[in-house]
Structures are given as structure tokens and as C-alpha cells.
Amino acid sequence: MTDHTQDTEKKTVSHTKQMREIMTAYYIDAKTARENNKKVAWITSGGPVEPLIAMDIIPVYPENYGAMIGASKMGVDLCKKAEDMGYSSDLCSYARGDISCATVKGGPIGGLPEPDMLICCNNICGTVLKWYEVQARYFKVPLFIFDTPIVHTEFTREMKTYVQRQMEEYIVFLENVSGRKMDRDRMVDVGKLSVEGQQLWQEVLDTTMNRPSPMTAFDAFFYLALIVTLRGTKQAVDFYRGLRDEMRIRASEGKGAIPRERYRLLWDNLPIWYRLKWLSQEFAKHDACLVADTYTSAWCGSMKYIDRNDFIGSAAETYTRIYLNIGVDKMAEIVLSMIDKYQADGIVMHSNRSCKPYSFGQYDIQKIVERERGIPSLIIEADMCDERSFSEAQIQTRIDAFMEMIRAKKGAS
């Protein structure tokens, strides 16, 4: 957990510790999969993981690993290695980091366990398609592409049929690669656990509606790992229930995540992994708490489309209509509703060189937010893992100017 609070709670620490333990155990499990006769699937962060869980295939997330690379400040070195291999420095830094780790066997935790299969769902971007093609050529393992057409304006009947058919193809693919049939009853249970986990994650995030907020978006970036990697397990459900209860208690006791919360901000786009602490401190200095973000909420944002009793049957819509796979105007609507829900006084947008589908359109969203809600906005030009795109002095100046605007608008008290 990001250390931005002086009165670090014992119980919060225990959740941080618990989460670290769960993630460590998960990675040990994944790294020893071969010895335990288990298969490993690499999967994109927005991909349908539930069928893997139901079939005891261990999901591994190169994007989660990308975040680890960024947070451990290994991004620049690994990105440079990929550039030496011929990959342009303009490509996604998660992809560059992961591609170079696969070949140089470097990176945090000694690299990821090799995949037996690759599952690429393009609901988050087109980059993952190219990235997974690279890895499929390198590891020579089967690649399944789960193609979720972008919902610019409408989710059509044609899209639904196409994605739904792929759900069945996906299960057949997993059965073929693993040599086992899927237990459909188990799948139903996993589906229910997934929905429960997503609900609890939303409830965790919703505790930040309290004033002061018991946690920040920086905490959410940390706690996110489980809803991504272990969605559909009881472990994730239990953890988030505990975390939610803890955050609710903190809120009821009036304990805020930062010493003095005067201003509340919304964050847009992926975190800047190598500067989480610095950024949280910069904002805390101005008594500003980042109470919510469009990123971590993406893993529970399409719950309204899920039929909990027919997870597979409703998966087409759930997995296609996620936050990034919709039109910019729809994204703006969600941003506006989050501003209202979390009572944000301003919005901080990370213009992320690595993520074009998330970043192109931000200027339009910024204009819509200013027009519809009249709150100040700040755009930080940076990159999620590649520190070479981060100019600390410039960003600090801009944060100061932005906070000055917010203070002027809201009043200092």
C-alpha cells in the first residue's frame, strides 16, 4: 500500500500484508505449475478468466507483471532491451517490458512462468493482439483470440452472436489444450463467485464516497491485483469482503486516507507505476485525495449486463461492453457520473503514451467535463512504465497550478 498516511492502521496493514501473501502464493503456484501437472495460460487483463479458473488452469497476466515492472522501476531497462530487439520506443511499455522479459529471462520474480496457451481478448486494445502474436511465435503455443467488437454507439445483435459463439469456441479450445472436459456445474459456481467478487470490489471502491475518504485511488491501484488475477475464486471474495468491512469501519470512524482531505479528485487512465508514492504525496501536500478512478472501476463496470445464474450465456455482453471498448462520448458519460458520485472537485488525466485507446479522446472528455461540470482538469503527459516520458519538475509545476485553480474555485477552507 502506498505510504501516504501518517496514521497507518493496524488492520489496513494486515490487508496489505494479506494481499501480498495471496499474490506471492499465487505466483509460487504459477511458477510451480509444471511440477504440479497444471497448465498455465497467459491472458489479457480484460479477458474472460472464469473458464480458466473453472478448469484449474492457472491464469497469468503479463499486464499485471507489467505493473510490477513499472512499480519496481525496471521499466526503462527492459524497454530498452526490447528496443534493441527492434521494437519501437513508441510501443506500449507493458508489451515492451514483457517481450524483453520473455527472451532475456529478467524482470521481477525471475520472470513469468512459460505459458501453455495464450488467451488474447481485444476488449482493452488492439495492442494485445500484436503483443500476443509476438509471444505465440516465441513460445510456439496455441493462441486463442477472443474478439470483442468495439461498441462505438450500439451493441448489436450481430456482435452478440459473434462473441457468444466465441465463448463456446473458447471453452472447446481450453478443453483441447488441457485434454479435459469443462465441468459446467463448476463453471456456474465460478461465475457466481466472479459476480460476487466484482460486487465486493465495487463496494470497496464505493467506500470512498465518504468524507473523508478511507482510501485513495493509489490504494485501489494496489488492491486491484486480485480482482484481475483471481476473479472467480473464493479467495478474492473473502479478501474483498474483509477489505470492504475494514474500509467501512474506517469511514464510520471518520478516518481519512490522507491527513487533511479538503479536495477530492478523480483519476483517469492507468497509474504511473514508478511514481505512485511521489504523486500521492504531491497531492496529499495540497490536501487533495484522489478518491476514485476510471481504471480500477473497469473491472466491475459492466456488472449490469451479467446474469449471475448464466455467466457464460451473458458473457458476450459483459466482456464486450467494458469501459475501454465503448465510444469516447460514453466514456465521458461515465466520467461525469463518477464526478457526481464521488463528488470530485477536479479531474487528473494521465495522457499515457503507451495506451492509445485510453488516451485518444481524453481531450474531448476534458472539454465535456469542463462544460458540463465546470471543474478544473489537469493532463499529465507521461507513460505507465517508461520513466523516460516523465518530467518531474514540469509535472510538479502543473500539479501546483492545478491545485491553485481548485483552491480558488472551492475556497481554501
Binding site: 530487439m85 527492434g86 521494437y87 519501437s88 513508441d90 510501443l91 506500449c92 508489451a95 481485444n122 486494445c125 488492439g126 495492442t127 493482439l129 500484436k130 503483443w131 502474436e133 509476438v134 505465440a136 511465435r137 493462441l143 483470440i145 474478439d147 467488437p149 468495439i150 462505438h152 454507439t153 448489436t156 450481430e158 456482435m159 452472436t161 459473434y162 459463439r165 466465441q166 469456441e169 465510444g327 469516447v328 462520448d329 495522457s351 503514451r353 492509445k356 485507446p357 488516451s359 485518444f360 479522446g361 481524453q362 481531450y363 474531448d364 503527459e381
Partner: protein, 373 residues
């Protein structure tokens, strides 16, 4: 005016050409962004399809909608819309390709007041039965959407006729490419560039006639001559917005004999079947044509295709033009390089933003590459 001059003029000022066409024919003008657009459906609606390539000049308005790390094609197309330089368009269609084009569609829809807006949400993978069915469903939906927007019937017969006309155009451009491949001295590369681009700009009925005449004329001129001995170059990479490259390579002692651009050979490769269901036939062609790196058919198809082209066209080297900030091409380049090197095919690459690297510098690079061949 001879044909080559007519192609040249249309390419140098597409807006002027199309506005005159609109005035003379009363045809609705429908802009599009990518070679996966089913032009035949637009033609069958009685409208004129115009590919936008993006302006390179006076970019000022697009910068307040797109960050600095967006490619020049997307930025240039948006600029044309925002500046109203293309306000004669009656509509704009956006086939799904890459992340940047995807967001261009949204930003266009939210900011451009003139003309209708349509998405064609094509599949990204093209190699499965469900993707094929979806492709055809999407094309049918596009026909229905367009028919509503233009308020016209789009009959199977009309689509069939448009297929015949598009096939004729593609066959002629191919014949021109084939002739020039055999006799590189027949015309400068820049004219070849103009011909294929003009095919996406000019009136298709007129083109069908003109291109056949150009092909016949070249055939006549080639008869009895000997193929010139030149250093034969295959161009590959993203779309080419750089006509100067042809002359530069020619001045350096080479000739571009073929390419793998969507603004080049990928546009005319593969004819559409004239079977019973025209939309299925269009879909089949889109599924089977040489793939854009933003789409998926298999893991090795592009390498095989480029190597095969180099061998077939007897190219001594391959020059990749990689548009800056084009992720799909940038991801493919390292593996293509590795595969070409394994096959013993020399290659070089040039990164292109809105303009080419400084001329002197680039020419030196071309010269030393060609010298090595």
C-alpha cells in the same frame, strides 16, 4: 489531357476533383478511411466512395483533440474534417482497424457537423467460421445502414454491378503493375503511385475505361523493348503518403517494382467472386486478401507474403516505410526483419512521420543500401 496527367491532377487535389464530380453528376460523396471499406456497397447506392489519406499541411485544429503520439494519418484526416476542407462529404464511414482509427471515428462523430457518420465494426480475426459469419453480418448491416442514411434501395443487382466495375478497375491496375514490373522503364514510380491512389479518388466508371486504356497503351509501348536492368526494390510497410520516395529511390539507382501497401498492391490484390450472394463475396475477399497488421489471419502470413513477393518480383531488396506511431506495423517489423534476413533478402527501414527524414540524409541511406545490393 492524357490519362497520366488526369490521375496526377486528381491525386494532387482530390477535393477539387470530387467537388467537380459532385457538381456534374449529382452523386453523393462518401469518405472512408481504410482499404477494408466495401466500396462496392457505396457505389451500389449510387454514391461515390472517396478515400481520405489525411492532409499533411496546416495541422492546427486536430492538435486540440489528439495527443502528440498519434500517427499523422489519423491526425491529418481529423484536420480535414475540423477545418471543413472536406465539408462536401455527405457522409463518412469508418471500418474498424487499429486503436487510433477507432478513436478517430468517435472524435469525428462528436465534432464534425456535416455529413452522416457510420461505423463498420469489422472482425479483427479473420480466420474462423464465426468471424466469417460476423463479417458478412456486418456487411449486411452496413448495406442497411447506408441505405437508410442515403434513403435509397441497395439491391443485390446493383452491388453485383459495382463488383464487376471494381473488379475491372483492380484487374487493370494489376495489369499496369505487372507490365511495369517487367519493364520498369515504362513509367516513373510516382505515376504508378498516382494510378493506384487515383483508383480510390476518381469516378469509378471513368476509371474502368481509363485504366484499361492505360494498360493497353503501356503494353503497346513495351512491345519489342527489352526490360531495363535496374536494381529492383520491393516497398513494404504502412500506407504510403510519400510520393517523393519513388523519385529518390530512382535517383539513387533503383526502381520500386512492387509494394505491400494498402494504398498500393493490397488494394487491388484479389478479385471479388461474382457468384450469387454479392455481400458474401465481398466478405470473402476481405477475409482472404493480404492482411493489414491490425487484423489477424495467422502468425506468419505477412512474412510469407512479403518473402513470396520479393521472390516472385525478383526484388533485390525490401525497403520498409514505417509510419511513426503505427503500432500494428511497429509490432510486426522485428519478426519480418528476422524472417527476411533468414531468407537472405536485404532490407532497410525508414520511419516516416508527416514528412520524410531530411532529404539529403535519406538519399544517402537509399544510395548506400542500393549500392550494397
Amino acid at each position: 489531357m492524357n490519362h497520366l496527367e488526369e490521375y496526377r491532377r486528381a491525386v494532387s487535389d482530390p477535393s477539387d476533383y470530387v467537388q467537380q464530380l459532385k457538381k456534374a453528376s449529382g452523386k453523393k460523396i462518401i469518405g472512408y478511411t481504410c482499404s477494408y471499406t466495401p466500396e462496392e456497397v457505396i457505389m451500389a447506392a449510387g454514391a461515390h466512395p472517396l478515400r481520405l489519406f489525411g492532409t499533411k499541411q496546416h495541422i492546427s485544429l486536430a492538435d486540440s483533440h489528439l495527443q502528440s503520439y498519434c500517427c499523422s494519418v489519423v491526425r491529418g484526416i481529423l484536420e480535414e474534417g475540423l477545418s471543413r476542407r472536406v465539408d462536401y462529404l455527405d457522409g463518412m464511414v469508418f471500418p474498424h482497424t487499429c486503436d487510433s482509427m477507432q478513436r478517430l471515428s468517435d472524435i469525428w462523430r462528436m465534432n464534425i457537423p456535416f455529413g452522416f457518420h457510420l461505423d463498420i465494426t469489422l472482425p479483427v480475426k479473420l480466420d474462423t467460421a464465426s468471424a466469417k459469419d460476423y463479417m458478412i453480418d456486418v456487411l449486411k448491416k452496413f448495406r442497411d445502414d447506408l441505405s437508410r442514411k442515403l434513403n435509397v434501395e441497395i439491391s443485390d443487382d446493383a452491388v453485383q454491378k459495382a463488383i464487376a466495375s471494381t473488379n475491372a478497375i483492380r484487374q487493370s491496375v494489376r495489369a499496369i503493375y505487372d507490365l511495369r514490373n517487367l519493364y520498369p522503364q515504362l513509367m516513373p514510380g510516382e505515376d504508378l503511385y498516382n494510378i493506384v491512389r487515383a483508383s480510390m479518388i476518381m469516378d469509378r466508371n471513368r476509371l474502368a475505361v481509363m485504366l484499361a486504356e492505360t494498360a493497353a497503351d503501356l503494353k503497346e509501348r513495351a512491345a519489342g523493348t527489352k526490360p531495363a536492368v535496374v536494381k529492383r526494390i520491393l516497398m513494404a510497410g504502412g500506407m504510403c503518403n510519400q510520393p517523393d520516395v519513388y523519385a529518390m529511390i530512382e535517383e539513387s539507382g533503383g526502381k520500386i517494382v512492387w509494394d505491400d501497401f494498402c494504398t498500393g498492391a493490397r488494394y487491388f490484390t484479389g478479385l471479388t467472386d461474382t457468384g450469387s450472394d454479392p455481400l458474401s463475396s465481398i466478405g470473402e475477399r476481405l477475409l482472404n486478401r493480404v492482411v493489414c497488421p491490425a487484423k489477424h489471419t495467422d502468425l506468419d502470413g505477412r512474412a510469407r507474403h512479403i518473402i513470396q513477393l520479393a521472390e516472385e518480383k525478383n526484388a533485390q531488396g525490401v525497403i520498409f516505410l514505417l509510419p511513426k506511431f503505427c503500432d500494428p506495423h511497429a509490432f510486426d517489423y522485428p519478426y519480418l526483419k528476422e524472417r527476411l534476413e533468414k531468407s537472405g533478402i536485404p532490407l532497410m527501414h525508414v520511419e516516416v512521420d508527416d514528412s520524410l527524414p531530411a532529404e539529403g540524409q535519406l538519399k544517402t541511406r537509399f544510395e548506400s543500401f542500393l549500392e550494397m545490393l
